[in-house]
């Protein structure tokens, strides 16, 4: 299988703090690749460096054959790589549905075309159908016309995932997509993600709730203190003594 995302020795320093230290990972096409590690070990920072939110201090990010190191976020979206945020960042002045629609493309975004509804309404309606389907998957379809600020914390989390799924990207990085979500819904979402994988999508998922997420993973990277400490299949990584020591403790048996 081809590598879709490759990081080469990514390092990110915040002043004296080395948040990410020479991390090289490979995300293969059509896989569910997981990134685990204790709080503050640099998972979110790594994703930020890959998606243009932050510029890495050192190292390269390759998407397919393209070097996307330091590209602005919206250009990385254009090549087919999006991410969701750990702390939901909804568009509070928009409805739930428009939050999702906003993550999609419509030619009516061009200001010269925008005043002429006829020119873009068909696209909008097609997008709406897709958006409603995604909202149904994350159980927000009944809330579609509500302002997003009326949602609860777990629902905002789901909206964040929905925005990621709606983008039509080939690679979707989800930063703790099921944090705070009840186990049944979490399973449902991950099942959906697994289905999307079959349709050709690739996922890079940061997740603390290993017990729920690991069964869906094809490959796991484990980090600690900014470094990569282990990688392999779920059973290899979760039984790696280094991982057990820093992170899992007694949790391993549960898997």
């Amino acid at each position: 299988m081809r590598n879709l995302l490759v990081t080469e020795n990514i390092t990110k320093k915040f002043g004296g703090l080395v948040a990410v230290n020479k991390v090289s990972i490979e995300v293969k096409e059509q896989t569910f690749t997981m990134l685990i590690g204790p709080n503050g070990c640099g998972k979110t920072t790594l994703i930020n460096c890959c998606t243009g939110i932050l510029k890495p201090t050192e190292g390269r990010v390759l998407f397919g054959d393209t070097d996307i190191t330091g590209w602005p976020t919206h250009k990385i979206y254009e090549v087919g790589f999006v991410r969701s945020f750990q702390i939901p960042l909804p568009f509070l002045g928009l409805t739930v549905l428009d939050n999702v629609l906003g993550a999609m493309r419509n030619s009516g975004e061009a200001p010269l075309k925008a005043p002429f509804r006829r020119l873009w309404v068909q696209e909008e309606e097609n997008n709406m159908e897709k958006a409603m389907e995604i909202l149904r998957r994350v159980r927000l379809d009944n809330h579609w016309d509500k302002p997003s600020h009326t949602l609860g914390a777990a629902q905002l989390k789901m909206l964040e995932v929905a925005k990621g799924l709606a983008s039509g990207a080939r690679l979707i990085a989800l930063d703790e997509p099921i944090g705070g979500v009840d186990p049944a819904s979490a399973d449902e979402i991950l099942t959906h993600v697994a289905e999307l994988k079959k349709e050709g999508l690739t996922f890079l998922v940061v997740e603390h709730r290993i017990d729920i997420a690991a069964p869906y993973a094809d490959y796991i990277y484990a980090m600690d203190l900014g470094r990569l400490i282990s990688q392999g299949t779920p059973s290899e990584v979760l039984n790696d003594p280094k991982v057990i020591e820093v992170y899992l403790g007694k949790g391993v048996e549960a898997c």
Binding site: H74, F91, L101, R117, D145
Partner: protein, 392 residues
């Protein structure tokens, strides 16, 4: 389930049942009665002020209310439009007629020779008058858009307060350029502009008011359509959260620039139309107070992010302002006893309005509604056609 119809009527009812709106409408009615009773010229003055400031305030609302750009330099694009109309079309005419068009043209207010001659030409031809008007509006729009684009270059990447201050500084800068550089628009003296409405003779005032009012309504319709679209959604996304908007594929710099250019273009048109209406330009007439801070007050009172609200805000405050200008000495003369000169009352009013709105009506008279970008009816139809009805 509530039907579309009953839902709409409930909304409208709800709007009018709101205390603020009732009070506003009541005040409006009383004030309007007073002013209307003073005759047609008063009514026309109110309409013209309303129309010009409506365009300016709606343009501000596009940039600030929809896009989140702290536009404290609204005056700049208004100046660009005003100066362009003051400096260019008349000169082109003068040059083509073999009249002086250099510094002598800019200083014509002293001799008053060139512009009467130009106006005479316009007054004899409907075609010339119309072409002249269209050219003025076009050039005002282009100058507004151009200056908007120019200021966006260094400024657009700045964060809130820095961007706001930069825009404010640009605005003042151009006013002083106009004031001190005589060849542009006469410096400290006024420059006269040929009058494309002279052809209406005694009906000149009515005609100019009607035309400018119609332009304002066109701008309203245009902005409503522009913002109820995927473009409008992108604007609000950027306003609500830049990082998240970028992650959703929006090019923040480009979209903010587009908003700034469109807003400035419209403000330029307002500046140009105002010049055509008054027939003159004086650089010092374009102060930050009147063309930046008043529109802010109008917008805040009406409701930031609500195009309709903004119209209401402009209407209310324009009427109150006119009221004060007309009656300040009759009604507020007693203030003299306390050492307050009623001459400044309208400025005090704007300040008071801003403070009052912040304290009591933070979302304005007509708060922005969170609603689907397509009209609700259309969305509903789409979903009742199978999707929403589908069982999970």
């Amino acid at each position: 389930m509530i039907t579309e119809q009953s839902r709409n009527s409930k909304n409208i009812l709800g709007l009018f049942l709101k205390g603020e709106v009732i009070t506003t409408v009541a005040i409006l009615v009383v004030l309007t009665y007073f002013l209307v009773s003073r005759g047609l010229p008063m009514v026309l003055t109110i309409i013209i002020d309303f129309a010009v400031f409506a365009i300016v305030t709606m343009s501000l609302n596009l940039e600030t209310g929809f896009t989140g750009i702290p536009q404290f330099g609204r005056v700049l694009a208004v100046i660009a439009g005003a100066f362009a109309v003051g400096a260019i079309p008349g000169r082109i005419m003068a040059a083509s007629m073999g009249l002086p068009w250099g510094l002598k043209y800019a200083k014509d207010s002293i001799h008053y020779q060139i512009s009467p001659e130009l106006t005479q030409v316009l007054a004899n031809s409907w075609v010339f008058s119309l072409l002249f008007l269209i050219f003025c509006v076009t050039i005002a729009a282009a100058s507004g858009a151009g200056i908007g684009w120019l200021t966006s270059r260094p400024a657009i990447r700045l964060k809130e307060a820095y961007l706001g201050i930069s825009l404010l500084a640009f605005g003042d800068f151009f006013m002083w350029v106009g004031h001190n550089w005589e060849p542009l628009v006469g410096g400290s003296t006024a420059v006269y502009v040929p009058d494309p409405f002279r052809i209406f003779g005694g009906g000149r005032f009515q005609a100019v008011v009607i035309v400018i009012f119609l332009v304002a309504m066109l701008v309203y319709a245009y902005l409503n359509r522009l913002t109820s679209s995927p473009f409008g959604r992108s604007l609000k996304m950027i306003r609500d959260n830049e990082v998240s908007a970028a992650a959703a594929g929006k090019d923040i710099t480009r979209i903010r620039t587009q908003s700034l250019v469109i807003g400035s273009m419209l403000a330029g048109v307002a500046g140009g139309l105002y010049v055509i209406y008054t027939g003159t330009v004086t650089a010092m007439g374009y102060s930050r107070l009147v063309w930046t801070f008043w529109p802010w007050a109008f917008m805040m009172l009406g409701g930031i992010g609500s195009t309709t609200g903004v119209l209401l805000g402009v209407m209310v405050l324009t009427i109150m302002r006119t009221m004060i200008t007309v009656y300040r000495f009759q009604l507020f003369g007693f203030l003299m006893a306390w050492g307050i000169n009623p001459l400044w009352l309208e400025y005090t009013l704007m300040g008071a309005v801003i403070i009052g709105v912040i304290l009591f009506l933070p979302h304005g008279l007509v708060p922005e509604k969170v609603q689907p970008m397509l009209p609700a009816g259309r969305v509903k139809k789409l979903f009742s056609g199978g999707m929403a009805a589908k069982p999970r």
